[in-house]
């Protein structure tokens, strides 16, 4: 192919008076942007390779580097933006589907940012979370329709055992990210952090590396259409089994782990050839209808002797409320709704950016629908896809979620700068890679600390905020949309979200 017509996306600025030619940038770049002929020689850059991951910038000891978006002065045009032009040129050069990683980067409204939280003033007091107990413990799993008690003397006993409930010490879990899409070190950091936090991590669909089984008590294992790693032990060691029907970043299409990341270890875990593309197609080939989902749920329950709650994860699509209702009635204990801003290791950009609906409206619609049908208590709802901060967690819970998954946020805690090149396997931050030179960049011990810090910080913020609302137990927040007010939302949006506009009273 002759010279590419796509200009470099980033501009590398090196302040030569600050550059000590130490070569840190050269050695840290996973994309071979910087080069040096000899130690302490002149450093040169190939900007075409730069993905803007900022690894070199962060590591440069003298702050001599700056990576800036390369602002191409194509003529301003509302339709034909630089991005559109470059995509066309790229496709004209390759004839391929444009891949993207991480979440949707289109400028859709973020409903979380248009919802304001409430606080107490005078008539009911705020609670000081520093002194008073603030409870965020959350249980996942279906609930008994009612509690029956038996009196014996002055005390009472439970008459029927409850369905299995999974205790979370904080309503924040780590979302499904497979070994293969992310490195083993990252898997380990997530697993260990979940264990320390008393919450759960999700293996994703890549199977369970043998070294991580020690964290199984805090794991959700996924059964996806590719069925990687699914054996009896896999199901038995897990706390929860999740059937992956869809993913918010790429509704309607399946998983695709490019061969670049299929090292022997990943291949061994998935039981497929090394170097191959691991494909888990959109459909489970044994599920082409809702009763087939029930059949798979039942199969998993049979195999594990009804000891594991079954979660079903679906992408938030237009009809998600009805779909969720079907899933609840198919016997799932947990429904995970993954919004369109959820991350992924690789997805066609057109799918990532154009399909699905945001998690805020999806969770609101699902919660409302299940309540209307009187089956909200038969399932727990987990919201995921675009949860960025504690406020998002709070708002998701107000809208009706029991708990949330964080994926991208967890990776950001480990260093991810959202460059969106996970599918290349060259992640400079050592996260979305299997290259041993790169993957060692995530020291699990350090990673655990960062993840634990993040979730603890969010949890503190959650306590702080619900305290401000005068609430000391998170269950009082769940579905409590009176604590939300819409700002700048139209009537239809307010109706879908089930919230009142700011300024309207209780």
């Amino acid at each position: 192919m002759p010279r590419s017509l796509v200009p470099p996306a980033f501009f590398v600025e090196r302040v030569t008076t600050r550059c000590i030619k130490c070569g840190v940038c050269v050695r840290q770049c996973g994309f071979s942007v910087h080069a040096q002929a000899e130690p302490y020689g002149e450093v040169v850059s190939t900007e075409e390779n730069c993905v803007g991951c900022q690894r070199c910038v962060v590591f440069c000891p003298t702050r001599a580097l700056r990576i800036m978006e390369n602002v191409h002065s194509v003529r301003q045009h509302p339709n034909w933006t630089a991005g559109v032009i470059h995509d066309i040129q790229k496709q004209a050069e390759t004839g391929g589907i444009i891949l993207g990683s991480m979440g949707c980067d289109k400028d859709y409204p973020i409903y979380f940012d248009r919802l304001a939280l409430n606080a107490s003033q005078v008539t009911n007091p705020a609670i000081d979370p520093l002194r008073e107990p603030m409870e965020v413990r959350t249980y996942l799993g279906s609930k008994a329709p009612r509690v029956e008690v038996k009196r014996s003397g002055v005390t009472f006993r439970l008459q029927k055992p409850m369905p299995i409930g999974i205790k979370l010490e904080t309503p924040i879990m780590f979302a499904a990210m497979s070994f293969g899409s992310i490195s083993k070190n990252v898997c380990e950091a997530l697993a260990k952090a979940a264990t320390e936090l008393g919450t759960l991590f999700n293996t994703g669909e890549g199977g369970y590396h043998a070294d991580l089984r020690k964290y199984a008590a805090n794991s959700i294992v996924q059964v996806a259409s590719g069925r990687f790693g699914v054996d009896k032990e896999y199901l038995e060691v897990a706390r929860v089994i999740e059937i992956k029907m869809g993913q918010g970043a790429k509704p309607g299409i399946g998983g695709h782990l490019p061969g670049e990341k299929m090292t022997w270890e990943v291949a061994r875990t998935r039981m497929i050839p090394k170097g191959t593309d691991a494909i888990s197609p959109a459909p489970h080939h044994d599920i082409y209808s809702i009763e087939d989902l029930k059949q798979l749920i039942d199969t998993l329950k049979e195999v594990t002797d009804y000891k594991k709650p079954i979660s079903v994860k679906v992408a938030a699509v237009h009809n998600v409320a009805a779909i969720a209702s079907g899933i609840a009635r198919a016997g799932a204990d947990i429904i995970t709704i993954d919004g369109m801003k959820g991350g992924t290791g690789a997805a066609p950009k057109v799918v990532r950016n154009e399909i699905g609906i945001p998690i805020e409206v999806a969770i609101a619609a699902v919660d409302q629908r299940l309540r209307e049908e009187g089956i909200r208590d038969e399932v727990s709802l987990v919201a995921s896809g675009g949860i960025r901060c504690s406020a998002d967690v709070l708002k998701a819970i107000c809208l009706g979620a029991d708990a949330v998954y964080i994926g991208t946020a967890a990776l950001v805690a480990l260093g991810c700068h959202l460059c969106g090149k996970c599918y290349t396997g060259k992640c400079s931050w050592g996260i979305a890679t299997q290259d041993e030179y790169l993957s060692r960049r995530v020291n699990p011990e350090l990673g655990v600390k960062r993840l634990v810090n993040l979730v603890n910080a969010w949890t503190l913020e959650i306590k702080e905020v619900i305290g401000a609302m005068g609430i000391n137990a998170i269950e009082s927040l769940r579905g409590n949309r009176l604590h939300l007010r819409g700002i700048g939302l139209n009537e239809v949006e307010l109706k879908v979200l089930g919230v009142k506009p700011a300024g309207e009273s209780m």
């Binding site: 107490s120 005078v122 008539t123 009911n124 007091p125 609670i127 008073e132 107990p133 409870e135 413990r137 249980y139 609930k143 008994a144 009612r146 509690v147 029956e148 008690v149 009196r151 005390t155 009472f156 006993r157 439970l158 055992p161 409850m162 409930g165 309540r371 209307e372 009187g374 909200r376 208590d377 107000c398 609302m469 005068g470 609430i471 000391n472 137990a473 269950e475 009082s476 927040l477 769940r478 579905g479 409590n480 949309r481 009176l482 604590h483 009273s505 209780m506």
Partner: protein, 361 residues
């Protein structure tokens, strides 16, 4: 805006008196207790519930109904005719009282379900909810056997005088003085709230209202008044009548032990506590409250689990008193045998003795 369309937070005074022997006493006593706490109210609401007040009609469902206009009353009449035999219909006796104005139409019905209804209570409850929801400006103050709710806009002592409480006798009375912080109240918005024989007087405000409300709505309750007190009343009905849970357990749903306490419980107790929080977490009443729940045969007083509202209890011979302030108790019982201060989440449940014939239902 009309109360019932918007949520109005409020502060309050509450009191409850029960005679364990089921001996009836005058409503004047509860009015006297409430009078002491005059300054906790602002004249925008007062009310009382009396149990055992209609001994001669104790097998019939007594309905106290208010209506803004006569069409409301006739619509109620129509509705009752569908399912009940009206034994008696009369205006609720009142007396002209300074400080009580804007009096709505107030009617009293004694009803008998027409056919041998398997669940007469359910019918009565449904009828109550239907009137409140569908007949504009009309509201059921109470609808149950051998009890009644008297409430309106005004100070409690004025409301007591207005409804001639001194002419009633019951074995259990609860009272309420209201301090809403928003627009002037509506008669229906005053406390106690009731559904069937369960009445509620409430001080404080529930921050979990939105969660409680949505849960109750998904269980078939319609919130007419948009107040947290209404939600608590319905939650009581839901847990006590529909889920058959004893009041001790209901107290644990409204004000459960903290998780750290649950974690330290013996296994059996813990299982129950966990089950209650998991199942009825949405009915946890979060935020400051003290409530007195009255029901046929007893009452329960309860504080939120952080004890953010005041509540005092006292006992003297066969009498048990609960109130926002000790002075209220001393006003009617100067030297009680014991006075105590219930802890957060620690319910005071007092039933009339079992062999005493006073139960309405």
């Amino acid at each position: 805006m009309l109360e019932g369309w918007v949520r109005i937070p409020s502060g309050c005074a509450i009191a409850g008196i029960i005679n364990q022997n089921g001996q009836a006493f005058s409503g004047e006593m509860i009015a006297r207790a409430m009078t002491v706490m005059h300054d906790r109210s602002n004249g925008l609401g007062g009310g009382f519930a009396g149990y055992g007040i209609y001994p001669e009609m104790k097998e019939a469902y007594a309905f106290h109904v208010l209506a803004q206009d006569k069409t409301g009353i006739s619509q109620v009449d129509e509705l009752f005719k569908e399912n009940f035999t009206v034994i008696l219909k009369e205006p609720l006796p009142t007396r002209r009282t300074a400080g009580v104005a804007g009096t709505p139409f107030l009617m009293r019905y004694f009803l008998q379900p027409q056919k041998e209804n398997a669940d007469a209570d359910q019918l009565v409850a449904a009828t109550t909810l239907q009137i409140n929801k569908h007949i504009g400006g009309t509201f059921v103050l109470s609808g149950a056997k051998n009890m009644g709710v008297f409430k309106g806009v005004g100070y409690p002592e004025d409301i007591a005088a207005f409804f001639r409480l001194d002419e009633y006798k019951g074995y259990l009375w609860t009272g309420h003085g209201r301090f809403p912080t928003n627009t002037p109240g509506w008669w229906g918005g005053a406390h106690p709230f009731s559904l069937l024989d369960v009445t509620l007087v409430h001080n404080g405000e529930i921050s979990s209202y939105g969660a409680n409300r949505r849960y109750l709505e998904s269980q078939g309750y319609h919130m007419t008044l948009q107040t947290d007190s209404e939600a608590i009343a319905y939650a009581c009905d839901f847990l006590h009548r529909r889920h058959q849970l004893p009041w001790e357990i209901i107290a644990k749903v409204f004000a459960p032990p903290h998780w750290w306490e649950i974690d330290r419980m013996p296994a059996e107790e813990r299982e129950l506590a966990v089950a209650l929080r998991r199942t009825y977490g949405s009915l946890l009443m979060n935020g400051p409250f003290s409530i007195i729940v009255g029901f046929a045969g007893g009452m329960m007083a309860l504080n939120d689990r952080l004890k953010l509202r005041s509540l005092v209890a006292a006992q003297n011979e066969e009498w048990v008193f609960v109130a926002s302030e000790e002075a209220a108790i001393r006003a009617v019982c100067p030297e009680p045998e014991s006075v105590w201060y219930p802890k957060g989440g620690e319910a005071v449940i007092q039933l009339v003795k079992e062999n005493v014939e006073c139960h309405a239902a």
